[in-house]
């Protein structure tokens, strides 16, 4: 599967990843090489094989529905780029 520049731009958009337009052809080439490489998997017959979720086939552990975390809002917000009155600030989304 070879990706062209417009497909790379679409994927970058899905990932909310800004990519410099001049780097797009290079990404298209690298990503196409990686996809061509992983496409070896297509030749493998996996009918009846279960996908592996956890190497040890363990079950999801459950715990009591109780509060275990203290409120550390101030500590966690101390390293946020922009906060005000305990809220995270982002550019205006509604005009």
């Amino acid at each position: 599967m070879a990706l062209d520049s417009s497909e790379v731009q679409k994927i970058a958009h899905l990932a909310r990843l800004g990519v410099d337009p001049q780097d797009v052809p290079e990404y298209a080439r690298n990503l196409s090489n990686i996809l061509a490489f992983v496409e070896q998997l297509n030749a493998v017959d996996c009918s009846g094989v279960l996908p592996m979720a956890h190497p040890l086939d363990t079950r999801q552990r459950l715990r009591e529905d109780a509060v275990t975390e203290p409120n550390l809002r101030d500590k966690f917000q101390a390293h946020a780029p922009k906060v005000e009155a305990g809220l995270y600030l982002v550019p205006k989304v509604i005009e």
């Binding site: 990519v19 992983v38 094989v49 995270y88």
Partner: protein, 484 residues
């Protein structure tokens, strides 16, 4: 002091031959003197180290003893450290002061270990050469023109250069074992779930696992005993008692069945590396081990399956870096989408971006079954190969890396070639098995690593084999010129 092993240092501290503070000062001095040519540390935490060393000295004076009490170590910058910058080798987290300690950080602190600093690494642990770090590449102390391996390249270079007796690492596709091999160290990746991932910045959650990097198997056993254990804060951590990994080190290897997968000795392996491994097999035979030819038929599928599973999980894990709650934010975003895109576009380096895009593509509508589901099925085939093999053998042996350390820049612009340098280590992560690398000799004056793979939770046996081999050989004692 710097040439002593962790076990020797612990004995000296207990005998009060010198204090932890004296030991710590001498290593901090070595770091200041020697690290500028290596770039193995991103942050040196001298104040914390001296405070922890004095606290350890007080505990020793009060009659306490412990194998890590007062022992300095270097901590990979992927582990959160409360109040200390935790960068993960990325511009994205260049300003991130972790608000809590990772489970491993806390366990080592409780044991009385002394953190010298945080080590350089490939950005978000994505790389096999330590060249993707925002803080620049790390140099290999054995030859400053070659890479130390990655992603735990800073940890490897620091221990090899005798700047620390031990370091932490993490291994998603070989990131402990491959740099250990390239720097002449002993490194072990435990069974998936053995060490808590809490506070270890996630790359590919179903593969990531932490472990120690040291100069001897005995030292690795001491570190792993302290690092391992159940932690309810990591939902995949396994609730199972921790052994004292030193207990079995002295066992004889007589009758030990060592599997040699034919796929690990074929095309792609540098013949000179192969002949070093053959010599190591002969040494193990003299110790009573019995080599058995085995086959792991799906070996060639491991790297392609990994480059679907790991990027898919990385694209999901790294979506948390949005420029809103922590980490890098771009200047003057014009709207929310611009904020996300430019913060992530400017904060991540090219290899991280490649993997996020591959993962996004593999998980996108219409492609999920063809890529991710298929790769997870292939993963089962790979795990089944090992299951079959472990019915016949006790451990599996082969090279850790197909070549010795390569030149800086040599593979940097060719991702697929770089990915293939992990061809022998990746299958172990996909299967969730424990694996380790130990020094086995040299080619062109560069170290060769021998890989040992064990059955689930058989870390003690791997360490036993490694220790017995190290009693009969002295490769692990060799120090790089200029750092001895």
């Amino acid at each position: 002091m710097h040439n002593k092993t962790l076990a020797e240092l612990a004995a000296d501290l207990k005998a009060k031959a010198y204090s932890s503070e004296e030991l710590t000062r001498s290593l901090l001095d070595r770091i200041a003197r020697l690290d500028p040519q290596l770039n193995s540390f991103v942050t040196v935490t001298a104040d914390i180290a001296l405070t922890q060393a004095r606290a350890a000295d007080a505990r020793i004076a009060a009659g306490e003893s412990g194998p890590l009490l007062g022992i300095p170590y270097a901590h990979k910058d992927i582990f959160c450290t409360d109040g200390v910058r935790t960068s993960c080798g990325s511009k994205m987290l260049d300003n991130f002061i972790a608000p809590y300690d990772a489970a491993v950080t806390g366990k080592l602190a409780t044991a009385g270990a002394v953190m010298l600093g945080k080590t350089n690494m490939d950005e978000f642990a994505m790389g096999s050469s330590n060249e993707t770090s925002f803080y620049g590449p790390v140099k290999n102390p054995w030859n400053l023109d070659v890479v130390p391996g990655g992603s735990s390249g800073g940890s490897a270079a620091a221990v090899a250069a005798r700047l620390a007796p031990a370091a932490t690492g993490t291994d998603t596709g070989g990131s402990i074992r491959q740099p250990a091999a390239l720097c002449n160290l002993t490194g072990i990746k435990p069974t998936y779930g053995r060490v808590s991932r809490y506070g270890m910045i996630a790359f590919a959650s179903s593969l990531d696992q932490a472990g120690p990097m040291t100069r001897t198997a005995e030292d690795a056993a001491i570190m792993l005993t302290a690092m391992a254990g159940f932690d309810p804060r990591d939902s995949t951590c396994v609730d199972r008692p921790v052994e004292d990994y030193r207990a079995a080190l002295g066992n004889s290897l007589k009758g030990l069945k060592v599997g040699l997968p034919k796929e690990y000795f074929g095309e792609g392996l540098d013949p000179a590396v192969g002949s070093v491994i053959q010599t190591a097999i002969d040494a193990l035979k003299k110790l009573g081990a019995e080599p058995v030819e085995i086959t792991l038929p799906n070996t060639a599928l491991a790297v392609p399956a990994y480059y679907v599973v790991a990027p898919a999980e990385c694209s999901s894990n790294l979506s948390r870096f949005d420029g809103v709650r922590f980490g890098y934010r771009c200047e003057n975003p014009k709207d929310l989408e611009d904020l996300y895109k430019r913060s992530r576009g400017e904060g991540f380096g090219p290899e991280v971006k490649r993997r996020i895009m591959i993962g996004t593509y593999a998980l996108s509508a219409g492609y999920y079954d063809a890529y991710y589901l298929k790769a997870q099925q292939v993963r089962h085939l790979i795990a089944d190969d090992f299951k079959q093999a472990f019915q016949k053998v006790d451990v599996i042996l082969g090279p850790t890396s197909p070549t010795v350390a390569f030149k800086l820049g040599e593979k940097f612009n060719d991702p697929v070639t770089m990915y293939l340098s992990d061809i022998y280590t990746i299958a172990v992560n996909l299967a969730g098995l424990p694996g380790m690398s130990i020094p086995a000799g040299f080619v062109h004056d560069l170290p060769v690593g021998l890989q040992l793979i064990g059955n689930y939770f058989d870390e003690a046996r791997l360490l036993n084999v490694a220790h017995q081999y190290q009693q009969a050989t002295d490769w692990h004692r060799r120090a790089p010129h200029g750092f001895n």
